[in-house]
Symmetry: C2
Subunit: 568 residues, 2 copies
């Protein structure tokens, strides 16, 4: 059983809480920079209590998690988003700056408090600037009150990531500069915060040290015993890369995604997009005299990054005993047919998940384009690039603060409807915006994500879209332009998977449905860190009148300052 | 006359103001990162309205300056300090985070409004993290209502700086890391934002371009006409370096420092410490067929940085015509005797400057030491390293907000009094603190800055100390340990210079006197950007009960949030 480490990774205190029946798990986190060598190159990462990745947060359904976050970084604000947690009743604790709360200033403490209402594999991460890319993330696991619909002997957990030596801060400045400064392909791929960079390629004038024998970059070890079956939890927090994960010689049976059960699907390797989480079952049924590689590769972009490696260690073999043969390759990076076929295989476990309503009340069609604004490179949805305002939407909408954001809603569909998705935009210029899609409370909303060509001819990218505050059903994927007359007839309304993240494939469309049943203001955005930073997102709001009293601690910035500060 | 450019460098609108008799100068600034090549290496600098350095702000004594500052940086807070402006009646606009105001969040706008009450050569600069080092600075010039006590035909203005290619943000993270990451000696020295790096030394894998023909790094040109006399205004915003400035073949007559008149002193070259400003008169009395070098060199540390160069251009020679001989050298970097002799020569112009009170009411003795705290490298005063709190002192003190800072005052003198300043501290550990020296309103305060050995044997550094909200008289400089019985007898009480910045020389002491006559909370700190960042400062407060109503816009962070936010 691999459940022990979480006990050591945080100060977990069980307190009596009069508010709910579950337990209260109290964590005190100090956020700061820390020298670390995730891929053997020493850089400064954002650490929690001096460690990278952050501690695993674990609770049972119905429990309350309290994180007292002390921002000890000298000059950076911070927020933490609890990815996959719907924040029912606590929309101010979704951890999104300009949206749910004011970013937590350097030197200040903020208390996140929320109930986990659904079992599953989740994670948390920074959501300010590119702080997720700087290392601010960790696992969040919610255990069910009863039994899972599958059985296993032990549990393992990994977070996948891509990694650069240039700081996330530098990356952010580059992304928002003209001329655009591109960070390039990742230096390394990390499994549970560990990778291996080829230090011999580092030029001598680099002030940071690169040392392939550093303990912080020894491969992550997944310890198993022969004949046993393990639940391996996998999450992807990558900034840029679609990833493919496999374990040499071992099939994986996918049983859970984003906190929802799936019909078991056996795969040789698994595409995992940024923002997604999975549970797979693996059985240690190979020659126990050997260890085996767990391998991570880039999909969807021409890979220039070496395979990320961890070790499946058959006990009692030494974990340092490397596998005798190289790992098998992942599918070709541009074999999108493979990726789409795999995505379509993932359906909800019969009898365990809610089925979608037959009809929706509103359909939104979101054209994904790469654009320019005043010469700056941006991403836009229906030609609007999201620039969140300084006043958090939640407080602005709840307390009707004027001039906090554009009250003209953005368009439900893109124009012109005959837009040619196969070529670069004829007029590359988009506009900045911060309007909100206001959804009727408890209405059913369909979102069609429509991909298109970027500014580069013959190029269209994968975008993993993540919805805050809700899960959605993935009703279907298709190639080319979505046809509103024909394509909905092919929707899977029987057993579509419930997810919080869905891939949009190059030149294709992805159809989603969700119930707008969670009072609050919620971001829906491409989970690639750079893409959101460059405007690839929209805002949804529903049931604002039902939002409870927003804590003062989440306000104080923007127009909330003038609205609520009485003068002494 | 060289006064014209300031007209173009800012949007200067003269408005009628009912509050004061002077004019109101309105500026609208957008602060953002911008690709720039100050020394030919393209980096991201913090720009104002797309330019680096920032626009010159100019006004006449009694005028009001209004700067509407729009922080367009994606993830950085910001403040701007108006260096040398006392902010009488507007202590909340001193531009110091944690002290006078809450840092201005990304995406927000703040309005600085203050009266300039004294003619002189000033400047403004970022005061959050190391943003000054990132390029956030510019000139601030206040003209007298009447005549100056010296005459000249034209005016020129330059700001001196040291420069690195590694971003200020990276530098800040390194300074606050354990192990300490030192940025190293500067790559270049800049005169008015221009220097020249040897691009051939840049490794090929660097993603940024280095181009010695870039127009942004062509040398700054000081245009003169034969036979004319010019007032050259010089300020130093260096992060690290003490600098020496000279003009080939031309003597300089020092006539003003930090907004106060000096007895004219003719020099071949001038030491300028970070935080200082000077006016020197130069006469174009050399062969007009040639141009001449203006040259900048590092003092006080073994120089590893090439001379910074500008061109004194005798019109109508082409400015691109380089001088025919190299510039003369500055004094040797470790010729401290030269520096001290020069400092002692600078005295107040008789009849034009206030003389100090004969006695002080209180004496503070500040031992300057380099220390460790929990393994982190720090600087400390009387063994306390300043860590400013999240709640600005001004609001905390004015509105008696509890627990905002340590209300136990720090010690007036260091202990033990027999501390050996000639060796590294026997116990290198200091403590963090944020207490305040509360000064009686209108009392006269003496500060003795006492230098000591750093953590490195046989090493003591120059520290240029800068006082906010006041000017001080420099009563004397001495070597070794200050003797309270004997040394005050040697004070210059006749014509000591009034300054806002004074050098503390290695292993020596510097004695200052000032009147605590400006209601507010004021920082007094080493002006080396890294040293303040590492704790080398103290806080003074006086007349808090006389501080006016603090604008809401300067609050909203820390405990001001809970104190003043009424709940909707």
């Amino acid at each position: 059983m691999e459940r022990a480490p979480w006990l050591f990774w945080g100060v977990v205190v069980f307190l009596f809480s009069p508010i709910c029946e579950g337990k209260v798990h109290y964590h005190k986190w100090k956020i700061n920079y820390q020298s670390w060598a995730p891929d053997c190159m020493q850089v400064q990462v954002i650490s929690i209590n001096g460690k990278y990745p952050g501690p695993t947060v674990r609770a049972q359904v119905g429990d309350t998690i309290v994180v007292e976050l002390d921002n000890q970084m000298a000059t950076e604000n911070v927020v933490v988003h609890w990815h996959g947690i719907r924040q029912i009743g606590t929309p101010w604790n979704d951890g999104t700056p300009s949206m749910s709360q004011c970013a937590i200033n350097s030197g200040e403490t903020y208390i996140y408090r929320f109930v986990v209402e659904k079992a599953g594999t989740y994670f948390y991460h920074g959501h300010y600037g590119l702080q997720r890319s700087a290392g601010l993330y960790g696992s969040l696991i919610v255990d069910p009150a009863g039994k899972e619909p599958f059985s296993y002997d032990g549990e393992l957990s990994i977070i996948l990531n891509d990694w650069w030596h240039k700081s996330a801060y530098e990356q952010a400045i580059g992304l928002s500069s003209n001329p655009f400064v591109w960070v390039g392909e990742p230096h390394s791929l990390l499994i549970e915060g560990r990778g291996k960079f080829n230090c011999t390629t580092v030029s001598a004038d680099n002030s940071n040290t690169c040392n392939t024998t550093h303990s912080q970059c020894s491969p992550h070890v997944l310890r198993v015993k022969q004949g046993k079956t393990y639940r391996l939890r996998i999450a992807n927090v990558a900034s840029l890369s679609a990833l493919n994960f496999l374990i040499q010689g071992h099939k994986m049976t996918v049983v859970e995604a984003d906190g929802h059960y799936l019909e078991p699907v056996e795969v040789d390797n698994l595409d995992v997009y940024s923002g997604e989480s999975y549970s797979v079952l693996i059985t240690a049924n190979q020659d126990p005299a050997n260890n085996y590689w767990a391998a991570l590769n880039v999909r969807g972009r021409l890979p220039k990054t070496p395979t990320g490696l961890a070790i499946l260690n058959y006990l009692p073999n030494p974990s340092a005993e490397l596998p005798t043969s190289p790992p098998p390759p992942s599918p070709l990076w541009n074999d999108f047919a493979y990726s789409k076929a795999l995505a379509k295989k993932l359906v909800a476990l019969k009898g365990h998940e809610e089925v979608p309503p037959r009809q929706s009340h509103r359909q939104l069609v979101f054209l994904n384009t790469q654009n320019k604004i005043n010469g700056f490179l941006k991403w836009a949805i229906n030609n609007i690039s999201l620039v969140p305002p300084p006043t958090p939407y939640l407080a602005a909408m709840k307390y009707k603060i004027r001039n906090a954001y554009d009250t003209t809603p953005p368009p439900d569909v893109y124009a012109p409807r005959n837009y040619n998705i196969t070529v670069p935009p004829p007029n590359p210029n988009a506009t900045e915006g911060n309007g909100v899609y206001v959804l009727r409370m408890n209405s059913v909303v369909d979102v069609i994500l429509q991909n298109a060509n970027t500014l580069t001819p013959n190029n269209s990218e994968i975008h993993p879209w993540h919805l805050h505050g809700h899960d959605f059903w993935i009703l279907g994927y298709g190639d080319g332009v979505f046809d509103p007359a024909k394509d909905p007839k092919k929707y899977n309304l029987v057993n579509p998977p419930l997810r919080n993240t869905a891939a949009l494939f190059p030149y294709g469309w992805t159809a989603l449905r969700f119930k707008a049943d969670n009072p609050g203001v919620w971001a829906f955005h491409c989970h690639l860190e750079a893409h959101l930073f460059m405007g690839m997102g929209v805002m949804f709001a529903e049931g604002i009148e039902r939002v409870g009293r927003i804590p003062r601690s989440s306000m104080g910035c923007g127009l909330t300052r003038n609205k609520f500060m009485r003068h002494p």
